[in-house]
């Protein structure tokens, strides 16, 4: 019975990941995309633990989930540090500059 609960929760999480991907793909600024990817990473950490419960191989998947959580945090901080220096975070700005260059 519990494995069915875990499976349905995992499937709901996959659906929510796809909904978050909408924001991560089409956000108006680059920082929106970073927020979306950060949320997807948090959901994926929980999803990895659920996969470990479903396949009854918890000691392996716990290490993968831990590494994924660390990596997600470091990637977010690194992307913030990078985009803090660039002044063009609006995606439309890049398109406008490209148009000016071609005109």
């Amino acid at each position: 019975m519990m494995s069915q609960v875990f499976l349905s929760v995992a499937l709901t999480l996959v659906m929510l990941i796809f909904l978050t991907l909408v924001r991560a793909l089409g956000g108006p600024t680059v920082l929106d995309r970073i927020v979306g990817v950060n949320m997807i990473g948090t959901k994926t950490t929980v999803l990895l633990l659920l996969i470990g419960l479903i396949y009854e191989n918890m000691p392996m998947f716990i290490d993968i989930a831990l590494a994924y959580a660390f990596l997600n945090f470091i990637a977010t901080i690194g992307a913030c540090k990078y985009f803090r220096r660039s002044k063009r975070v609006h995606l439309e700005d890049d398109l406008a500059i490209e148009k000016e260059g071609s005109a």
């Binding site: 519990m2 609960v5 978050t20 600024t29 949320m39 950490t45 419960l53 918890m58 831990l66 803090r84």
Partner: protein
């Protein structure tokens, strides 16, 4: 015990859904961060606590060790997710993302 695990998991998924709706529907960047930061932290804490609790149903040294690691993930998410949200907000303020205002509001 199974009921408690199910309740924690379902409430975790509920708050994940609230955060996803917030990040899709809210009008500007800072309010989206408000949805992303808090809902994600609470939901991940609830769901991962449920997994750690379920892992203790056969009590042995190995399962206690695995649950200790799972609680370490809870602790790390609890520290890291607000820190990441704060870093993103500071980057947005430095870069100059405009806050949303109601039409006709005084500047």
């Amino acid at each position: 015990m199974n009921w408690l695990v199910t309740l924690l998991l379902v409430s975790g998924v509920f708050f994940f859904a609230i955060g996803t709706i917030g990040i899709l529907r809210l009008p500007d960047f800072y309010s989206r961060l408000h949805a992303a930061g808090k809902c994600d932290t609470l939901a991940a804490t609830l769901a991962v606590s449920a997994i750690a609790l379920y892992n203790l149903h056969d009590l042995s040294f190995a399962s206690i060790l695995v649950s200790w690691k799972v609680f370490f993930i809870v602790f790390f998410i609890f520290m890291a997710s607000p820190t990441a949200t704060h870093a993103i907000t500071k980057a947005a303020l430095i870069v100059g993302v405009e806050p949303w205002q109601r039409k006709g509001a005084r500047k």
